[in-house]
Amino acid sequence: MPIPDLGILLFLGLCGLIVGSAFMVVTSPNLVHSAVSLLFTFFGIAAIYIYLYADFIAATQVVVYVGGILVLIIFGVMLTNKIENATITSKTHNQIPGALFSGILLLLQFYAIFNTKWLVNDNPEKSSTVMDIGELLLGKYLLPFEVVSILLLSALIGAAMLSRKKVD
Protein backbone atom coordinates (compact mmCIF):
# COMPACT_ATOMS: atom_id res chain seq x y z
CA MET A 1 0.00 0.00 0.00
CA PRO A 2 1.55 3.31 -1.04
CA ILE A 3 2.05 5.92 1.62
CA PRO A 4 -0.08 8.98 0.80
CA ASP A 5 1.59 12.31 0.29
CA LEU A 6 1.91 14.29 3.52
CA GLY A 7 0.71 17.47 1.80
CA ILE A 8 -2.52 15.77 0.71
CA LEU A 9 -3.09 14.39 4.22
CA LEU A 10 -2.59 17.86 5.67
CA PHE A 11 -4.96 19.32 3.07
CA LEU A 12 -7.65 16.80 3.97
CA GLY A 13 -7.16 17.51 7.66
CA LEU A 14 -7.52 21.23 7.03
CA CYS A 15 -10.70 20.65 5.00
CA GLY A 16 -12.09 18.57 7.85
CA LEU A 17 -11.24 21.32 10.34
CA ILE A 18 -12.81 24.03 8.18
CA VAL A 19 -16.00 22.12 7.41
CA GLY A 20 -16.40 20.88 10.98
CA SER A 21 -15.94 24.27 12.57
CA ALA A 22 -18.15 25.93 9.94
CA PHE A 23 -20.83 23.35 10.81
CA MET A 24 -20.46 24.37 14.46
CA VAL A 25 -20.80 28.03 13.42
CA VAL A 26 -24.10 27.48 11.65
CA THR A 27 -25.70 25.02 14.07
CA SER A 28 -24.43 25.71 17.60
CA PRO A 29 -27.18 27.16 19.80
CA ASN A 30 -24.60 29.02 21.89
CA LEU A 31 -23.46 32.14 20.05
CA VAL A 32 -20.10 32.32 21.85
CA HIS A 33 -19.34 28.80 20.64
CA SER A 34 -20.25 29.92 17.12
CA ALA A 35 -17.87 32.88 17.31
CA VAL A 36 -14.99 30.74 18.60
CA SER A 37 -15.61 28.14 15.88
CA LEU A 38 -15.44 30.95 13.33
CA LEU A 39 -11.86 31.54 14.55
CA PHE A 40 -10.86 27.99 13.50
CA THR A 41 -12.63 28.39 10.17
CA PHE A 42 -10.73 31.59 9.38
CA PHE A 43 -7.37 30.09 10.39
CA GLY A 44 -8.03 27.02 8.23
CA ILE A 45 -8.90 29.20 5.26
CA ALA A 46 -5.64 31.11 5.74
CA ALA A 47 -3.80 27.77 5.51
CA ILE A 48 -5.74 26.92 2.33
CA TYR A 49 -4.49 30.21 0.83
CA ILE A 50 -0.93 29.06 1.48
CA TYR A 51 -1.70 25.89 -0.50
CA LEU A 52 -2.79 28.20 -3.33
CA TYR A 53 0.53 30.11 -3.31
CA ALA A 54 -1.14 33.24 -1.88
CA ASP A 55 1.08 34.12 1.06
CA PHE A 56 0.12 37.79 1.29
CA ILE A 57 -3.61 36.98 1.19
CA ALA A 58 -3.07 34.41 3.96
CA ALA A 59 -1.38 37.02 6.16
CA THR A 60 -4.14 39.52 5.39
CA GLN A 61 -6.75 36.90 6.26
CA VAL A 62 -5.17 36.32 9.66
CA VAL A 63 -4.72 40.04 10.39
CA VAL A 64 -8.04 41.38 9.12
CA TYR A 65 -10.46 38.50 9.69
CA VAL A 66 -9.08 36.94 12.85
CA GLY A 67 -7.77 40.14 14.37
CA GLY A 68 -10.46 42.55 13.24
CA ILE A 69 -13.77 41.15 12.08
CA LEU A 70 -13.87 38.30 14.59
CA VAL A 71 -13.25 40.70 17.49
CA LEU A 72 -16.04 42.92 16.14
CA ILE A 73 -18.38 39.92 16.00
CA ILE A 74 -17.52 38.87 19.56
CA PHE A 75 -18.18 42.48 20.65
CA GLY A 76 -21.52 42.23 18.88
CA VAL A 77 -22.40 38.98 20.67
CA MET A 78 -21.44 40.41 24.06
CA LEU A 79 -23.10 43.82 23.63
CA THR A 80 -26.43 42.57 22.34
CA ASN A 81 -27.37 40.24 25.17
CA LYS A 82 -28.76 41.04 28.57
CA ILE A 83 -26.57 40.19 31.54
CA GLU A 84 -29.37 38.19 33.16
CA ASN A 85 -29.27 35.63 30.38
CA ALA A 86 -26.45 33.46 31.67
CA THR A 87 -26.27 31.39 28.50
CA ILE A 88 -26.31 33.30 25.25
CA THR A 89 -28.56 31.16 23.13
CA SER A 90 -30.05 31.74 19.75
CA LYS A 91 -33.17 30.07 18.43
CA THR A 92 -33.32 28.77 14.91
CA HIS A 93 -36.26 28.38 12.60
CA ASN A 94 -37.04 27.07 9.11
CA GLN A 95 -34.54 24.22 9.50
CA ILE A 96 -36.13 21.93 6.93
CA PRO A 97 -36.62 24.51 4.12
CA GLY A 98 -33.17 25.91 4.85
CA ALA A 99 -31.50 22.51 4.73
CA LEU A 100 -33.40 21.61 1.54
CA PHE A 101 -32.50 24.87 -0.19
CA SER A 102 -28.83 24.84 0.73
CA GLY A 103 -28.59 21.10 -0.03
CA ILE A 104 -30.02 21.61 -3.51
CA LEU A 105 -27.64 24.54 -4.01
CA LEU A 106 -24.72 22.35 -2.92
CA LEU A 107 -25.74 19.53 -5.27
CA LEU A 108 -26.04 21.95 -8.21
CA GLN A 109 -22.59 23.34 -7.48
CA PHE A 110 -21.08 19.85 -7.20
CA TYR A 111 -22.76 18.90 -10.50
CA ALA A 112 -21.19 21.96 -12.14
CA ILE A 113 -17.79 21.27 -10.58
CA PHE A 114 -17.60 17.65 -11.73
CA ASN A 115 -19.10 18.18 -15.19
CA THR A 116 -16.92 21.04 -16.31
CA LYS A 117 -13.63 20.54 -18.06
CA TRP A 118 -11.52 22.93 -16.04
CA LEU A 119 -8.51 24.56 -17.56
CA VAL A 120 -5.73 23.52 -15.20
CA ASN A 121 -2.47 25.35 -15.69
CA ASP A 122 0.26 24.42 -13.32
CA ASN A 123 1.51 27.94 -12.73
CA PRO A 124 4.89 28.00 -11.03
CA GLU A 125 5.05 29.09 -7.44
CA LYS A 126 6.23 32.66 -7.02
CA SER A 127 8.76 33.33 -4.30
CA SER A 128 6.69 36.26 -3.03
CA THR A 129 3.43 37.72 -4.26
CA VAL A 130 3.75 41.04 -2.44
CA MET A 131 5.58 42.88 -5.22
CA ASP A 132 3.13 41.82 -7.94
CA ILE A 133 0.12 42.75 -5.81
CA GLY A 134 1.65 46.13 -5.02
CA GLU A 135 2.33 46.86 -8.68
CA LEU A 136 -1.24 45.92 -9.61
CA LEU A 137 -2.77 47.95 -6.77
CA LEU A 138 -0.87 51.12 -7.64
CA GLY A 139 -0.98 50.60 -11.40
CA LYS A 140 -3.87 48.83 -13.10
CA TYR A 141 -6.24 48.99 -10.10
CA LEU A 142 -5.34 52.46 -8.79
CA LEU A 143 -8.84 53.92 -9.17
CA PRO A 144 -10.68 50.98 -7.48
CA PHE A 145 -8.06 51.05 -4.74
CA GLU A 146 -8.73 54.73 -3.99
CA VAL A 147 -12.50 54.26 -4.25
CA VAL A 148 -12.45 51.33 -1.84
CA SER A 149 -10.31 53.27 0.63
CA ILE A 150 -12.78 56.18 0.59
CA LEU A 151 -15.62 53.68 0.99
CA LEU A 152 -13.91 52.10 4.02
CA LEU A 153 -13.33 55.53 5.58
CA SER A 154 -16.94 56.62 5.09
CA ALA A 155 -18.26 53.26 6.34
CA LEU A 156 -16.18 53.54 9.53
CA ILE A 157 -17.27 57.15 10.13
CA GLY A 158 -20.88 56.12 9.52
CA ALA A 159 -20.56 53.18 11.92
CA ALA A 160 -19.11 55.42 14.63
CA MET A 161 -21.91 57.95 14.09
CA LEU A 162 -24.62 55.30 14.18
CA SER A 163 -23.47 53.69 17.40
CA ARG A 164 -22.50 56.70 19.54
CA LYS A 165 -24.77 58.14 22.21
CA LYS A 166 -27.05 60.93 21.08
CA VAL A 167 -26.03 64.26 22.63
CA ASP A 168 -28.75 66.91 22.56
Binding site: V19, V25, A35, A54, Y65, I73, N94, F101, S163
Partner: protein, 102 residues
Protein backbone atom coordinates in the same frame (compact mmCIF):
# COMPACT_ATOMS: atom_id res chain seq x y z
CA UNK B 1 -2.75 19.54 -4.25
CA UNK B 2 -2.60 20.04 -8.01
CA UNK B 3 -6.29 19.54 -8.69
CA UNK B 4 -8.81 22.35 -8.87
CA UNK B 5 -11.87 20.36 -7.72
CA UNK B 6 -11.06 20.01 -3.97
CA UNK B 7 -10.77 23.77 -3.56
CA UNK B 8 -14.02 24.40 -5.43
CA UNK B 9 -15.78 21.69 -3.39
CA UNK B 10 -14.55 23.28 -0.15
CA UNK B 11 -15.74 26.72 -1.21
CA UNK B 12 -19.15 25.43 -2.33
CA UNK B 13 -19.61 23.63 1.01
CA UNK B 14 -18.75 26.85 2.88
CA UNK B 15 -21.13 28.83 0.65
CA UNK B 16 -24.03 26.42 1.28
CA UNK B 17 -23.39 26.51 5.03
CA UNK B 18 -23.46 30.30 4.94
CA UNK B 19 -26.78 30.25 3.07
CA UNK B 20 -28.12 27.77 5.66
CA UNK B 21 -27.08 30.10 8.50
CA UNK B 22 -28.69 33.09 6.81
CA UNK B 23 -31.96 31.18 6.32
CA UNK B 24 -32.26 29.47 9.70
CA UNK B 25 -30.76 31.86 12.23
CA UNK B 26 -32.92 34.39 14.05
CA UNK B 27 -30.12 36.29 15.78
CA UNK B 28 -28.77 39.11 13.62
CA UNK B 29 -25.15 38.51 14.72
CA UNK B 30 -25.41 34.85 13.68
CA UNK B 31 -26.72 35.94 10.27
CA UNK B 32 -23.65 38.19 10.00
CA UNK B 33 -21.44 35.16 10.67
CA UNK B 34 -23.17 33.32 7.81
CA UNK B 35 -22.45 36.25 5.50
CA UNK B 36 -18.79 36.14 6.50
CA UNK B 37 -18.70 32.43 5.55
CA UNK B 38 -20.17 33.27 2.12
CA UNK B 39 -17.56 36.00 1.55
CA UNK B 40 -14.77 33.59 2.51
CA UNK B 41 -16.07 31.00 0.03
CA UNK B 42 -15.97 33.65 -2.69
CA UNK B 43 -12.39 34.59 -1.75
CA UNK B 44 -11.28 30.96 -2.00
CA UNK B 45 -12.77 30.82 -5.51
CA UNK B 46 -10.97 33.98 -6.62
CA UNK B 47 -7.59 32.74 -5.41
CA UNK B 48 -8.18 29.21 -6.80
CA UNK B 49 -8.97 30.43 -10.29
CA UNK B 50 -6.00 32.76 -10.17
CA UNK B 51 -3.77 29.82 -9.22
CA UNK B 52 -5.02 27.38 -11.86
CA UNK B 53 -6.13 29.71 -14.64
CA UNK B 54 -4.06 31.00 -17.49
CA UNK B 55 -3.04 34.26 -15.84
CA UNK B 56 0.37 35.85 -15.72
CA UNK B 57 -0.63 38.43 -13.11
CA UNK B 58 -2.27 38.20 -9.71
CA UNK B 59 -5.58 39.97 -10.43
CA UNK B 60 -7.49 37.44 -8.34
CA UNK B 61 -5.44 38.28 -5.29
CA UNK B 62 -6.20 41.99 -5.75
CA UNK B 63 -9.92 41.24 -5.97
CA UNK B 64 -9.65 39.14 -2.81
CA UNK B 65 -8.09 42.14 -1.05
CA UNK B 66 -11.03 44.29 -2.17
CA UNK B 67 -13.51 41.70 -0.87
CA UNK B 68 -11.72 41.57 2.50
CA UNK B 69 -11.87 45.39 2.76
CA UNK B 70 -15.57 45.36 1.89
CA UNK B 71 -16.18 42.62 4.46
CA UNK B 72 -14.52 44.76 7.13
CA UNK B 73 -16.64 47.79 6.21
CA UNK B 74 -19.78 45.65 6.11
CA UNK B 75 -19.08 44.11 9.53
CA UNK B 76 -18.52 47.54 11.12
CA UNK B 77 -21.72 49.06 9.70
CA UNK B 78 -23.81 45.95 10.36
CA UNK B 79 -22.71 45.80 14.00
CA UNK B 80 -23.51 49.50 14.47
CA UNK B 81 -26.98 48.87 13.07
CA UNK B 82 -27.44 45.75 15.24
CA UNK B 83 -26.43 47.65 18.39
CA UNK B 84 -28.91 50.41 17.52
CA UNK B 85 -31.59 47.76 16.98
CA UNK B 86 -30.79 46.30 20.41
CA UNK B 87 -31.05 49.76 22.00
CA UNK B 88 -34.41 50.41 20.34
CA UNK B 89 -36.29 47.11 20.73
CA UNK B 90 -34.19 45.30 23.36
CA UNK B 91 -33.48 42.21 21.25
CA UNK B 92 -31.57 41.28 18.12
CA UNK B 93 -34.14 38.71 16.99
CA UNK B 94 -34.83 39.70 13.40
CA UNK B 95 -38.43 38.46 13.66
CA UNK B 96 -39.13 41.06 16.36
CA UNK B 97 -37.95 43.93 14.16
CA UNK B 98 -41.30 44.39 12.43
CA UNK B 99 -42.27 47.91 13.39
CA UNK B 100 -42.62 49.04 9.80
CA UNK B 101 -44.50 45.91 8.72
CA UNK B 102 -47.75 46.92 7.02
Amino acid sequence: MDYIQPYLMLSSILFSMGIYAVITRKNAVAILMGIELILNACNINFVTFNRFGNFATLDGHVFTMFVIVLAAAEAAVALAIIINLFKNIGTVDVDQAKEMKG
